[in-house]
Subunit: 209 residues, 2 copies
Amino acid sequence: MTRASRIPLPALERLSTYVRSLMELKSAGKQTVSSREMEELTGVTAAQFRKDLSYFGEFGRRGVGYNVCDLQSRIAALLRIEAEQPVLMVGAGNLGSALIAYPGWNAYRFRIAAVFDNDPQKIGGEVRGLHVYDAGRIVELNAEIGSQIGLLAVPAPAAQGVAGALVEAGVTGLVNFAPVKLDTPPGVRVRQISFLRELAVLSYLIHQD
Amino acid sequence: MTRASRIPLPALERLSTYVRSLMELKSAGKQTVSSREMEELTGVTAAQFRKDLSYFGEFGRRGVGYNVCDLQSRIAALLRIEAEQPVLMVGAGNLGSALIAYPGWNAYRFRIAAVFDNDPQKIGGEVRGLHVYDAGRIVELNAEIGSQIGLLAVPAPAAQGVAGALVEAGVTGLVNFAPVKLDTPPGVRVRQISFLRELAVLSYLIHQD
DNA sequence: TAGATTGTTAATCGATTAACAATC
DNA sequence: TAGATTGTTAATCGATTAACAATC
């Protein structure tokens, strides 16, 4: 595996926000945007915005601003979300189903290539038009699909096992919704999502004196 | 409103992880834990763990470690998650329903006090045993409930309007699942959750050379 | 040209890490 | 006491902010 990115992680996270706002500007027919206007839209300061872009190169014209279309496609290219990417969804329960139904996958060119579950009641059935496969077949089926990204929408006790299978199947990036720390080999990236943690943080912040 | 916390936000986010691990240790019957063992469990270094706690006071005994039960309840008290807190869920669609069904609310002592939607098909009905109210009644009903926390599981175009209603109803903390920047008055805290952003970040990280 | 806005440098700020004295 | 582990200080590291020269 390669050494960690020189790009600050917070900067990387903001890039995705920029893409979203640029898409909206494009839909609205706007052709040019300044860092000041981006601050208005995203809440990220103009200086921060320009600094974030500077890690990757030059994207604007002094005195003029940024071309909306061009900037959007260049950031999308940096994030590698210009070409369609297959992702594996593990867990066809409430959360998995809700995620599958989420509109917006396509805006970022992600495509759910397969859905897995270990519940015999669900295996062989469909969730929102997608076939549900036996989680035991992750390695086998991803040999065909070649996905590098997996989403874990399974109960906490199952998460580590599923993560192992996904990694064995060649996945190198995981989004984990289960409240467990996943042990993964070096080179595998895990992003954790936990709304209970967000609630706990809020709980502290709103009760401060 | 009050000035921002002196506690680093990353430290605050980690506290919730500590609570979770301590709950597990308690269930496993463990009575004492060292910062080194916590590192093993959470992935947060022992030094970081001790430093995080030091913002709040002293929690352990030198040469011995931390009492599991005691530490858990003291961190829970810091986060204000020892007493039950009512939360408002807005959006009874796929995501809202999945969140409602999520096990674990209770471990952090959150209780969904009311569910709202603006779809006439859903209003008056039930979602997983909870009554669905007209989103137009948020202010009215929260006068009774007195919740300070709201979750937004609504489509992006509806989010800003709902946020306004929640704030008017007295909510000071929001967890927003919609991919929009919410404009809120000073003093209202917003935590954003976006799995598409997580996917975009992963996309960059796994494709690095 | 004059006005606007970028890209970049330097200064500031804040968080993490390492080391160790305190103390159980 | 000797060994272990905390709480805290100081050093390091990294990100953000402010300022401005470059340039459209």
